[in-house]
Amino acid sequence: MSTPVPAVRAPGADTEAVQVATRVLGRGTRLPGWFVILWRNGKCRLGLLMLAGFVLVAIFAPVIGRYDPRDDDFDTSAGPSAAHWLGTTALGEDVFAQLVFGARTSLVVGIAAGLLCTVIGLVVGLTAGYLGGWLDEVLSFFINLGLVVPALPLMVTLAAYSPVRGLTLIILVISVTGWAYGARIKRSQIITLRTRDYITAARFAGDRTARIIAHEIVPNMTSLIVVGFMGAALGAIGGEAGLAFLGLGDPQTVSWGTMLNQASLGGALLSGQWAWLIAPGAALALLITSFTLINFGIDALSNPHLRED
């Protein structure tokens, strides 16, 4: 507080700068500022368009898919044809219908687990970072623990114990194993922000802690929260696919992971049904690509070193 040192921009200043930029841009339009910024970045725009495509497919899955993905009245292990664009499974289900409905599962899991991870991370990170002291010690320990415990084996173990394996359980398991990374980043960000003079000033202006967190700190972290959500959603999509591929997914739900699992078990490799094998993986890859592209935009904004040229 007292040393006459000119401002050395601490880490975290960057996210504040992004926030300012988003505020400024958001003013003229009705869209949120962060969206305007993302939209202006070419890569990011492509990613957003791709993601929008997936969302549309997921919403209109029954129309686009043409068949019920569980309907196994067709020929088994057939190659692509006019009736079955990507062929049928070993049980006689339509691969294309499954692919289309799989988008639903991935997006639902991604959004739900992403939100859950973000909320847990935010609560834990905010509490630890803002209040500090022994509470921080304890919470940081749990964050670090959450970071080092191998996620997939933990997911597998947790999933194995549960009597029913619905999608909700999958989402919970993924969130329980995936919140720590976001919490760590948010904690360190808050530690930087809470030493800002404007926080002290808010306290002197009579604001209470909850208000300070909600009105002074969180608005300076929205880009971080968005990035964190994207990362968590991406992890969740991958996690669900992995679990399902291992046969530990929700047996009632069609997902790209279960499709690959069945393709692998059902001999897609041996019968040469490349479409059945390629399509779900490619869909997953494209969805991940769209997230990666969007993250490019966010990253480039918040890290000036990676920004120009």
């Binding site: 006459p4 040192v5 401002a7 926030q19 300012v20 400024v24 003079d197 608005p219 120009e308």
Partner: protein, 659 residues
């Protein structure tokens, strides 16, 4: 020329004055210059922002052994120019025109290998923050060793490094240390020793002591002066601090908005500055020890360099501006003994410095003088001094830190007593780490004293509040009476919140205002700190304001709860010199008209002299001297106070020199 001869040390000023008596301002054509900068321009072309012409058409020369200062407000392009000379610019910055010739070699055209050979052996540098300029994972000795190795200096390197460290008064033990194990001052000395390692002919120093304590700064400046004298290298000394530049340099170049606007020997510059901007800068400085102290400021702010501007760039801020100034761009032209870029000065129509001003008291016609300051010269009558609103009584604060099993305790403050009275400013002066901020934290109830009391009595009541015992709700209620003004105006306002929001919080929380009343009151507050018309500012975000405007908003927010006490922790130290007086004037006026009690924390004795009625000097937690400002500053009794005073760079020593 006695440049290389030591002068006898004066009895009272323990620093060598190393100056040539020769006027050196004008470089004769033909005389061989060590460094020649010809029409150098540098532009920043970032991807998502307009192109900024940070340095424009700059030309100058530095002769062998010459000490040249480069002075100007922050953002006027000094560092960019320095980096251009060093060829250290990286995208989005690039040299867009001109040449840099060092000892006959064109650096701007040299290939990388050629450049590498010249670097450090001919041209070395010290950056502002040596915090980051040393490799954190290499020991100091390794950084010396690699420097020698890069230039194939093999023999007797060990002895030479020890000698270099001795030159900057450092123990050879630091060689085994990592940078983070050294203090800021030590690191800066290491950086200086490193800069001299290969006996360069020119050393470029970019704000080498900014951010260091005055005493440490004094030390380094003295070492620098002696070394320059012993080794005879030339220096380009970049700083925004008028005091240091004028004290150290033979010749000073003043930079404004990317251009050199004046270039002249230091003594002449002090005596008869020809550019209005230089005069403005000089006017913002005064010697705190003088019997009478007056300062002025330059209103407004430097122009946005991404916008093309016809005519003189100083026009909007210039008190001497004429119609022609807005249209015709002045050239940098020689006048008697120097160069100046001003239409009016070139015509010889600039008002002369008042003859009676004398050294230490330059008062220039035209710049607004900071009124309402320096009240100590004329102390208020006894009865006007009210009862204290806050008493700090024999307070000690001990911090105990645990590191593993060891515990260490430090007394941040020891047995300090002070009183704050309505309408009076009490200044707390001392080096960083002397306990100033701890006292502020005790007064605001953020910390509790280990022993002693802090007592507060509101003006309209007789009950005493024990601040050292407050917690929870009571503490929040107390804060209504004690408000803060912060050092860094950039950190004191939430970048995502409008000015109106910042001002509304105390009004809502403490006065229960709602709806349009909040906005009305906020507007009044803004006008009371000189931001008018207020409507124009209420919806602005902090980044749309200048540093000075932000500090005004911060002040308005502090006034909102109608407090009895204002704590101002270094409120002007991060502001440009040219506008400090403006903020000090505002604070002084508010204290008087609103009968506020102010605790003014500073390491800068000039501002304390200007603003405070009473000065308290702290040294390592002890109160070493206390009394009316004029007495403490003018006739210090304590050794430490005298050390602080003697450490202040004195630009007017140049004027006193024969010349």
């Amino acid at each position: 020329m006695n440049l290389f001869q030591p002068e006898p040390r004066g009895a009272h000023t323990p620093r060598p004055t190393l100056r040539s008596d020769e006027p050196q301002g004008e470089v004769e054509k033909g005389s061989m210059a060590l460094l020649e900068v010809e029409n150098l321009s540098v532009t920043y072309a970032p991807r998502d922002a307009p192109v900024t012409r940070a340095v424009q058409d700059v030309s100058f020369r530095i002769r062998e052994g010459e000490f040249v200062g480069l002075l100007g407000e922050s953002g006027c392009g000094k560092s960019t120019l320095g980096n251009g000379i060093l060829r250290l610019l990286s995208p989005p910055a690039r040299i867009s025109g001109g040449r840099v010739v060092l000892d006959g070699v064109d650096l701007t055209g040299a290939d990388e290998e050629r450049l590498r050979g010249l670097r450090w052996t001919n041209l070395s540098t010290v950056f502002q923050s040596s915090m980051n300029s040393l490799n954190p994972v290499l020991r100091i000795e390794a950084q010396f060793a690699e420097t020698f190795a890069a230039h194939r200096v093999g023999e007797e390197v060990g002895a030479r490094v020890v000698e270099l460290l001795r030159m900057v008064s450092l123990d050879p033990g630091v060689l085994r240390a990592y940078p983070h194990e050294l203090s800021g001052g030590m690191r800066q000395r290491v950086a200086l020793a490193l800069a001299l390692a290969l006996r360069p002919r020119l050393v470029l120093l970019d704000e080498p002591t900014t951010g260091l304590d005055v005493v440490v700064q004094r030390n380094i400046l003295d070492r620098l002066a002696t070394l320059r004298h012993e080794l005879g290298f030339a220096v380009l000394f970049i700083s925004h601090d008028l005091g240091t530049v004028l004290e150290m340099a033979d010749r000073v170049m003043v930079m404004y908005a990317g251009e050199i606007v004046e270039d002249r020997p230091a003594p002449d510059l002090v005596r008869e500055a020809q550019h209005p901007y230089t005069r403005g800068l000089l006017g913002s400085y005064a010697d705190p020890r003088s019997a009478e102290v007056r300062v002025s400021y330059i209103p407004g702010r430097p122009p946005d360099l991404s916008v093309e501007q016809p005519g003189c760039r100083f026009t909007p801020r210039c008190p001497y501006a004429e119609d022609a100034c807005g249209q015709r761009r002045p050239e940098l032209r020689p006048d008697d003994g120097g160069l100046v870029r001003c239409l009016v000065a070139q015509d010889g129509r600039l008002p002369r410095t008042p003859a009676g001003a004398g050294p230490g008291l330059p008062v220039f016609v035209g710049f607004p003088a900071a009124a309402g300051l320096d009240r100590s010269a004329d102390p208020p009558p006894e009865q006007a001094v009210g009862d204290p609103v806050l008493l700090v009584d024999d307070v000690t604060k001990r911090y105990t830190t645990r590191r593993g099993l060891r515990t260490t305790s430090v007394d941040a403050v020891r047995g300090v007593s002070l009183a704050l009275r309505p309408g009076r400013v009490t200044a707390l002066v001392g080096q960083s780490g002397s306990g100033k901020t701890t006292i502020a934290r005790l007064v605001t109830g953020v910390e509790r004293p280990t022993s002693g009391q802090v007592r507060f009595t509101a003006a309209d009541s007789t009950t005493e509040v024990r601040v050292d015992r407050l917690r929870g709700r009571a503490l929040r209620d107390y804060r209504r009476h004690v408000q803060m003004i912060f050092q860094d105006p950039f950190s004191a306002l939430n970048p995502t919140r409008t000015v109106g929001y910042a001002l509304s919080r105390p009004l809502v929380n403490y006065h229960g205002l709602r709806g349009p009343a909040v906005r009305e009151r906020a507007a009044e507050l803004l006008e009371s700190v000189g931001l008018a018309p207020a409507g124009q500012f209420l919806d602005k975000l902090p980044h749309q304001l200048s540093g000075g405007q932000r500090q005004r908003v911060v002040t308005a927010r502090a006034l909102a709860p109608e407090p009895e006490i204002l704590i101002a922790d270094e409120p002007v130290s991060m502001l440009d010199v040219s506008i400090r007086a403006e903020i000090l004037e505002l604070l002084g006026k508010l204290v008087r008209t609103r009968r506020l009690a102010m605790l003014y924390i500073t390491h800068d004795l000039l501002s304390a002299r200007l603003l405070a009625d009473e000065v308290l000097v702290l040294n390592h937690g002890d109160l070493v001297e206390q009394g009316p400002t004029l007495e403490v500053v003018g006739a210090a009794r304590d050794d430490y106070t005298r050390l602080l005073l003697d450490s202040i760079p004195n630009p007017f020593s140049a004027a006193r020199r024969p010349g």
